[in-house]
Assembly symmetry: C2
């Protein structure tokens, strides 16, 4: 077995954080912008986001939710109202105080003191309060309910330590906001959104997740219940990839979202909110990337197939390009996962072999190289990103396939790659959830560093609340651990709480997390 020379300089096993940064840069997905906490999302990263948006938006619309757009600026008064209703209200936000710049007389510009706003405006960190205002206007009677809205938007939360895609001051997301007649209907919507996120993560992003309710201390401020999807990264850490909140009547009280019920009396609405963001892209990188770069699941790949003509700067190139265009058109006429195959003929100048590695690092699911001999023999040199290396000779694992036969089955191959990436991540997740640990000493030993990427623990607990829960959180914090969620599909409790030694009531996942 020969030595494989991988395309990246850092390996996952050696330095996961440095590897993550290298993938982003080697796949040309994003970069630091020079503006504090904000990144530039480059075409390949943004193309993946556009695919996620399209697929998620289809799911959102299929559920009867309607897209709207609400103001980016929220008056201070809304947050004052919210602070009165919501404990733990977060205050790290960008505040607009002036509406004009003027020359400072020294060649520079300053905010014009004469253009100071009477009331500062906050750049939305999330839109519960401003959408609550709209809901209060829109809802009069039970006939107006449920009210199901969503927006795709940028939001800003001032972050001191940032990491591309995972934690940036500005990020892109969708936020669903719904109002309902009663608890039952609102909780149903909370679960519908959660299930939609699970399906999108697993089916579209090939990202296996654990759905479950967050413990009290991890709830969104103002929420009665917060549910999440948690994904396992290849370093064993958890990534919260989406949340769905049942907000009770808390925000309805703050914004005055009331309706006349079927009996004619006035009631407060029960509301929900749910969101996923560009953070998901960080999850895709850390779940599917390998030591050669990113691997993009076909459903969210901007280009699923890239054709590289082996040009030689000779007149024969023209015939080869024409032939490749024919191949491209034949592939584009195929479908995979119920959509036309997205195929790019990469005509840029340069050696095919060098361009091949660009696309390997970017993680295009299939790369096809075509030289003049392949053209004559009706062959295609096919490289699958999920089966990149020939372990026997340490070389790229090209399949020299019959042209027409391969094109006919290309849809099936793409679906197989999608399935392979999911199965690999699912098996890894399942192998790295450890059960049976019954004491904090064992927890500490499990995370003592002997195993570099230890994964998650599923333990039993008595669901303490208040001060008792705070004590648990502190204990875990010392080990850099957090409670991720109460897995919806966990077995019933049958033991003793690992923290309180009381009888356990349910099982929870604990892990290090992004």
């Amino acid at each position: 077995m020969s030595q494989i020379r991988h395309a990246l300089s850092v390996k996952r096993a050696d330095d996961f954080a440095a590897w993550y940064q290298e993938v982003i840069s080697a796949a040309d997905m994003a970069e630091e912008s020079g503006v504090r906490g904000c990144m530039v999302i480059k075409p390949w990263g943004y193309g993946i986001w556009e695919r996620i948006q399209r697929l998620m938006d289809d799911r959102i619309k299929a559920a009867g939710v309607q897209n709207c757009y609400f103001p980016i600026f929220i008056p201070l008064a809304n947050f004052e109202r919210e602070a009165a209703h919501v404990e733990g209200f977060a205050k790290e936000m960008a505040v607009v105080t002036h509406h004009r710049l003027i020359a400072d007389g020294k060649g520079g510009l300053i905010p014009d003191p004469k253009a100071k706003l009477e009331e500062p405006l906050v750049v939305r960190p999330t839109s519960e309060t401003i959408i609550g205002d709209a809901m209060a206007r829109w809802v009069q009677s039970w006939r107006d309910l449920p009210l199901l809205t969503n927006q795709w938007a940028n939001v800003v939360r001032w972050e001191m330590r940032t990491r591309m895609f995972l934690r940036t001051s500005e990020f892109l997301w969708q936020e669903g906001h719904t109002a309902h007649e009663d608890r039952e209907d609102a909780v149903k919507e909370t679960h519908r959104a959660l299930e939609m996120y699970r399906a999108c993560a697993e089916e579209d992003l090939a990202l296996p997740v654990v759905t479950g309710e967050k413990p009290e201390n991890e709830r969104f401020p103002g929420a009665v219940e917060t549910w999440s999807i948690e994904a396992m990264m290849q370093d064993g850490k958890a990534l919260q990839a989406g949340t769905s909140h049942y907000l009770g009547t808390n925000f309805a009280h703050a914004a005055g979202i009331k309706y006349q019920d079927r009996e004619g009396s006035e009631q407060f609405c029960h509301t929900t909110s749910w969101g996923v963001s560009t953070r998901m892209i960080g999850g895709v990188i850390m779940a599917h990337g390998d030591d050669d770069g990113l691997r993009v699941p076909p459903r969210i790949a901007p280009h699923q197939v890239v054709i590289l003509p082996m040009l030689r700067d000779k007149p024969e190139d023209e015939a080869l390009l024409a032939y490749c265009e024919e191949v491209r058109a034949a592939i584009a006429a195929q479908s995979a996962c119920n959509e036309a195959v997205r195929v790019l003929l990469d005509k840029r100048p340069g050696k095919a072999a060098s361009k091949r590695w660009d696309w390997v690092r970017k993680g295009a699911p299939i790369v096809i190289e075509v030289g003049s001999r392949d053209m004559e023999g009706s062959k295609l040199a096919v490289l699958r990103r999920d089966q990149l290396w020939n372990a026997d000779n340490g070389k790229p694992n090209f399949d020299f396939a019959d042209r027409n036969g391969f094109i006919e089955r290309i849809g099936a191959v793409l679906e197989e790659i999608q399935d392979n990436l999911f199965a690999e991540a699912r098996d890894r997740r399942d192998a790295n959830i450890t059960r049976g640990v019954t004491s904090m000493a064992e927890v500490a030993a499990f995370y003592d560093g002997a195993n570099k990427y230890p994964g998650w623990l599923e333990v039993q607990w008595s669901k303490p609340t208040g001060a008792a829960l705070e004590k648990v959180v502190e204990q875990l914090k010392e080990l850099k651990l957090t409670i991720r969620n109460v897995p919806s599909n966990a077995a019933a409790a049958d033991g003793t709480c690992i923290f309180t030694c009381e009888p356990a009531v349910e099982r929870i996942l604990i892990a290090r997390a992004y």
Copy 2:
């Protein structure tokens, strides 16, 4: 001929501004948000924007332009640099000065004085300077050119007087930014974008436009050439619906966008930028709306066909709904303008006749009502929004069509509606451009109010510059007029300048404008 009772309370002929507001509210497109200068875009308005986005984005991608995302915040220093390079730099912008709120001790919140930013950040009014920074990083050699980027984003320009869709402090748009080796290539891109806007406006929005170059005084600050598409509204005013700028090397100098040319020496790039915004929706309203509400061109209609079952709150409703679902599926299987027909079965409770008027006001191209008798006779009661009234009896102009025959030709009918809306707007525009006026006295008479909606004048001028142009602009301003553009397809000049009495060199459009 009977009297028609229109669905709106205000007629275009009586009070165009009030009519515009009523359409927006009657079609449930948008509303004031309560946040200064910002609106809430409601599902029907946002759905139209999503359609425009989709169609424009397809055109942008087809031209090889790649979508990215850049930070919403721009450091003050970028604008200081720009102010040094760009005359007429606009300063009405939202300025972020703090990154935290704290309690003021009196139950309120204030910006935390300890969280004052060292350098204020500006909420992007447009992104030339921040994208220029990225281009300076990305471009090294002529091989990296042309660099073709676009982003879909929200931008903020502080506006004192706002009007929904037409002028709001926050609005949604796309902004293309490109860098090129030389003037020729950049000017070519400027025109490509302009032609793309013309095609999208005319083919997708059914909005006839005049393309042409803006005069010097109307250029984007920093641009060497600014080109626009100008559309005529039904009150005869002009709406600038999109612009494309050739920026020379001005922004390249400010941001340091340099490349090594084919001979190895360093050159500044020539850049362009081009944008269209949610303002286009205002143009659609004012070009196609009538005294019954909005009329949405089929290509940009979120629902092109709406089916209204005539429910009677009886057990028979079930069979009728099942039948309507069958009709819906049959229509959805048809295509119009190369896309599947977008059809909605509106099952909400309520009388079909009342829901009919909702959809008329919203401007759905085709409304189909189905009662049990229609079901038995395989008939559909079809109402075309472009042929709403029967002038003979003053009633809605229903066509009682054979079900299968109508469904088979529904794609053609939608395309005909699209064409009709365009032809109507084009004929109105052509009928309201007046030529042959040769003196300012005639201009003043033309706009003296005798004709309530006088339209545009095409006049000849000597293309004065500097102070002479300023004088012209002042003269026009007294009549509330502006120069719109130099129509690309105007005849050659053959007369005398209406302003300077010198020999004319070209023709310009003058008009009142939004």
